[in-house]
Symmetry: C2
Subunit: 335 residues, 2 copies
């Protein structure tokens, strides 16, 4: 690796394969502060009453590009050396990471190359292009995506920035929990959704760096319970069929995130699909905020009562708010 | 009138028929502070870009009971003398004022009597009863409502608290704009929705009390343009048929609010129904907050470009967020 700008001198350079330390998350917070929103922490009496838990909602649905992903992408892009940055960055994604990386690159004045399946919704393609991202279309299967990404990197020299299997990204994602504990220092527990595990890994390192006694849980759909089973069985399992409505959580852990979560996560709470949709509806109707299905899974887990948190002060990372409302004029989404 | 608790000594007692002065709004702010949320002021780059205006959104959708109405109800209830309070309060409403008055009364430990048409949605009845309100059913027409309210008052001695034709309520509603200008002192203009005119009257008095040069506009659906026409013609006109989707704005001005707005409001911007729905959709999709149709009318007016505000700093009062999402399982309100 070449040298990285802006890294805290006492922290050491964090490479994509490295496990971040708490100091890397603190360094990430300072590095990305000029570029990200410090999102608010919301409370809602109705949700407290329904859950029997004192909830503190870290509203990453209000983050730029509508999701926490902008934190990790910005940390990775801003940590590149000048030489690396000139080559641009690349990833394959059709989700929030694609938009996040495109905007983070645009704001540093470098090129982002986004490999995206040709069946991705036009709105998502337009959003990436709106942030100056250059799209390389590919087939929808993982092998095609990875082959296309390899070709882009070979042709351009761009630096790959994986959506979660990257220490620099994980460190950036951990800054949401760091801010949450700055605002509410006496939390008993923090719950974050888990898909690939980048957010939950960063959350756990951040929380335990602040105070070892903070309990950290993941929240996962029953239909995508690979993290739950991986941690229970002690070996990393592959993804489940992409059936859950929580489309941000269909991916499986990587070796890096699995290794972090084995040590840092107390457990994973599961939620049924109907519970996820009901939690999302409550956030919309009662907390008056738009949260995407993936971001509602922590609340679904709390309401399901499977974790022993009654009466505790619990932080939930509401990971994002990117939904496309139905545009059919016959569809009244409210009455 | 009997003496009122807590009124600022230099302000004088404000009765229901009195026009509030700026000092009454300041007194209301101090009186209701322990009971209401100080709602945040949100910004959204996308909305700024789309409108060409620097927008500051006063998020009264996050207010208790989901709307600014709790401010006016709380100010009225908390300003009652002990003797008045013992008799309870009464109103006729099937909307946000009913819930607001019920909760404000419950928190002072007194009874609220709510006259409500028997065809009101069960959810609204349940909400009022959940706050301890006692419901008197009536027919849906205005004459039946007023007759039922008169009977309740005769039987109980309860103090009537009108949703907008009441100086104490108007003073309470003005506290939202007062907070907005405390947070963003250099606003060029403030826009509030106008139905009965209580919110807009309080907003205008508050803004001009802070700085006379703040421009104050109302925002009204084209299908409910009685305030627009009343101010243009210089005489108070009655309500239009209740056709607009912005169901909070179907009422007409009272003599009191008309008199205030003739002097204090620079003008009324109109919005078509499709503009209101598009503004609401933008608030949901881009600002990630749930705002009811009435609360989206100010943004619709700005986006319509009918007011000359390009490049200005403009505050919008997002008046409420009470929507009942469709519960038909076939209705996917997002895709």
């Amino acid at each position: 690796m070449t040298s990285h700008e802006n890294d805290a001198a006492d922290t050491g350079v964090l490479g994509p394969r490295d496990r971040p330390a708490f100091a890397h998350i603190e360094a990430a917070r300072d590095r990305i502060r000029p570029f990200v929103h410090r999102t608010p922490v919301l409370t809602c009496r109705t949700l407290d009453r329904l859950s029997g838990v004192r909830l503190f909602l870290k509203a990453e649905n209000f983050q730029r590009v509508g999701a926490f992903k902008f934190r990790g992408a910005t940390n990775a892009v801003r940590g590149l050396s000048e030489e690396e940055a000139r080559r641009g960055v690349a990833t394959h994604s059709s989700g929030n990471h694609a938009q996040a990386l495109a905007l983070a690159a645009q704001e540093r004045g470098i090129q982002a190359h986004i490999v995206m399946p040709s069946n991705a919704p036009a709105a998502k393609r337009a959003a990436v292009e709106g942030y100056g991202g250059r799209i390389t279309p590919c087939e929808a299967d993982l092998a095609s995506r990875e082959a296309a990404l390899a070709r882009v990197i070979a042709a351009t020299g761009a630096v790959p920035i994986h959506p979660f299997d990257d220490g620099r990204v994980i460190a950036g994602q951990g800054t949401a929990a760091l801010e949450l504990l700055e605002d509410v220092p006496d939390l008993d527990a923090v719950i974050a959704p888990v898909g690939g595990g980048g957010l939950l890994s960063g959350t756990a390192i951040a929380c335990h760096g602040v105070r070892r006694s903070v309990r950290v849980f993941g929240a996962e759909p029953e239909l995508a319970d690979d993290a739950f089973r991986s941690l229970r069985e002690g070996r990393r399992l592959g993804p489940r069929p992409p059936l859950t409505v929580a489309d941000g959580l269909r991916t499986a852990l990587s070796d890096l995130t699995f290794a972090i979560l084995r040590e840092e996560a107390e457990g994973i709470g599961l939620a049924a699909e109907t519970e996820i949709l009901e939690a999302m509806r409550l956030l919309w109707e009662r907390a008056k905020i738009i949260v995407e299905p993936s971001g509602a899974v922590p609340l679904a887990v709390v309401l399901g009562g499977r974790l022993d948190l009654a009466g505790r002060k619990v932080g939930l990372i509401l990971s994002g708010g990117n939904v496309d409302l139905c545009r059919n004029p016959q569809c009244n989404f409210w009455r």
